[in-house]
Symmetry: C2
Subunit: 286 residues, 2 copies
């Protein structure tokens, strides 16, 4: 049901925008940098302002854990408390962790993000498929037990994603092997419209988006790369199904640092950027 | 110099054993489970006993961060404090994090583990190459600045590692593309015997160990899969160079839970298991 809940929130808000929270304190406005002694205080103030600004116009937020890890324990404490704050605001919460390891270790990661009541419990995470099904199944299994979602990296948005992902074996690219592997997995099956196994496919690769859409009709796509990374609304149209659903689109820097452009408060700027992005994509989606 | 320091410690201790600290509280002895209220207390007590037992007979410890993340903030606090404890004991400290992301995000991860004075600063980490050089270079770059080491996942030890890693493109396996990509990277160059870019290659794949050894003569190998995962000492011999150096071998469960087998204290059992493993491998290495 996890991905169904995400799609229900998309319908309710009429928005596929995921606000990516990638906090870099050096880029915060002075009143936050000066207003708190600890990194924890700064990260919480910034994150809460963003969530306050967007929670009623977007279905989901995505916390990029790297930015929290980079502030050590203070960062991890903010990660935990901002997850809780986003849940209070009824947002679907994605942790972008891209974990991948041998089976027993993957299970430990899965417990971290999926176990009921754990500090870092979220609705959904991203995983890296390089280690194969030992890894993937550990996440799928605990996702099923706890009704959580998983987005598998299939074709990532960055410039060098093709170095391995586009290599062809028997005339088929590696990213298609990853997609096929999802499709053939027993955990892909669902009684609902959408499987709890989704896929990450970059907005920067429109052709691949359409191809993978055909291969994985029941997967929700998490699409990074819109905005700061160069992906445009038109590039994403191939990701949606005939109902204009089946995908959510992330923007991080383009939303959370929009106060630099708009000169409004963080809350108001983030809201304005999220609404503009919603409208920009809805014209291609609906 | 980071990998040179690791090799110096190997020579000094005459051991290539890396003790993998993968703590699962359910498997701790009763006196630790009952002796501390918090997960933090239990994790610290267990970790310190292991380090006390092995620090003078092994060159390095490897913390698998998944097991710490699985205990939330308590776990992350123990991760930080056990890193500090291992450094006090002059051990080379590896954080097995297998991170991989787009460039800007990879840089945030690199700051977390490489920045001087950060909570989670270690000597060396593992990274996942699925996103290509955007990712890899962010880590290599900060590793160079801070004189740290990186182990890139090339051929992992688990059963399903071949699903993607063994696919052949133009008659060459994906894991060899990863190895080639390391070799051709400008950060691979070194004025020393060993590059600061190393490779993870599983003990469970002896043929590939020898192949990759030839491809990457200046990379130190981090070899998981010995012991609990089935890799034997003889399987590893192809990983060493003519001086018996150039590789370290990890064992986690086989050492840290050896008290279940030996019936000694955690410190004494871990030491005994680490010494037996050292001698087992030294007969093939030297």
């Amino acid at each position: 049901m996890s991905m169904m809940i995400l799609m229900e929130k998309v319908v309710e808000k009429n928005s596929i925008v995921v606000v990516g929270i990638d906090p870099v304190i050096d880029r915060f406005p002075e009143y936050i940098k000066d207003g708190f002694d600890s990194s924890y205080g700064k990260l919480m103030a910034f994150g809460k302002e963003i969530i306050d600004g967007v929670y009623d116009v977007v279905p989901a937020v995505k916390f990029q854990i790297a930015y929290f890890e980079s502030y050590g324990l203070d960062g991890m404490r903010a990660f935990k408390d901002l997850i809780a704050y986003a849940k209070e605001k009824k947002l679907y919460v994605i942790a972008d962790v891209k974990r991948g390891d041998i089976g027993s270790t993957a299970e430990a990661y899965a417990r971290a993000y999926f176990s009921k009541g754990s500090d870092f419990e979220v609705d959904c995470i991203t995983i890296n498929p390089y280690l194969g099904d030992d890894n993937n199944n550990a996440f799928y299994n605990l996702a099923k037990e706890n009704d959580k979602g998983v987005f598998v990296l299939v074709k990532t948005s960055n410039n060098t994603s093709g170095q391995l992902q586009d290599l062809k074996s028997d005339n088929q690219e590696i990213y298609k092997y990853v997609a096929n592997n999802i499709k053939e997995n027993k955990f892909y099956e669902t009684d609902h419209i959408y499987s709890n196994i989704g896929a990450v496919v970059g907005a920067t690769y429109p052709k691949q988006l359409s191809e993978i859409r055909e291969m994985l009709p029941q997967s929700v796509f998490l699409i990074p790369g819109y905005g700061a990374q160069g992906g445009k609304a038109e590039d994403i149209k191939g990701a949606f199904d005939s109902n204009g659903l089946g995908a959510v689109v992330n923007s991080s820097r383009g939303i959370i640092y929009s106060y630099e452009k708009f000169g409004l408060s963080i809350s108001k700027s983030s809201r304005k950027a999220a609404v503009e992005m919603r409208d920009d994509i809805n014209q291609w989606r609906l």
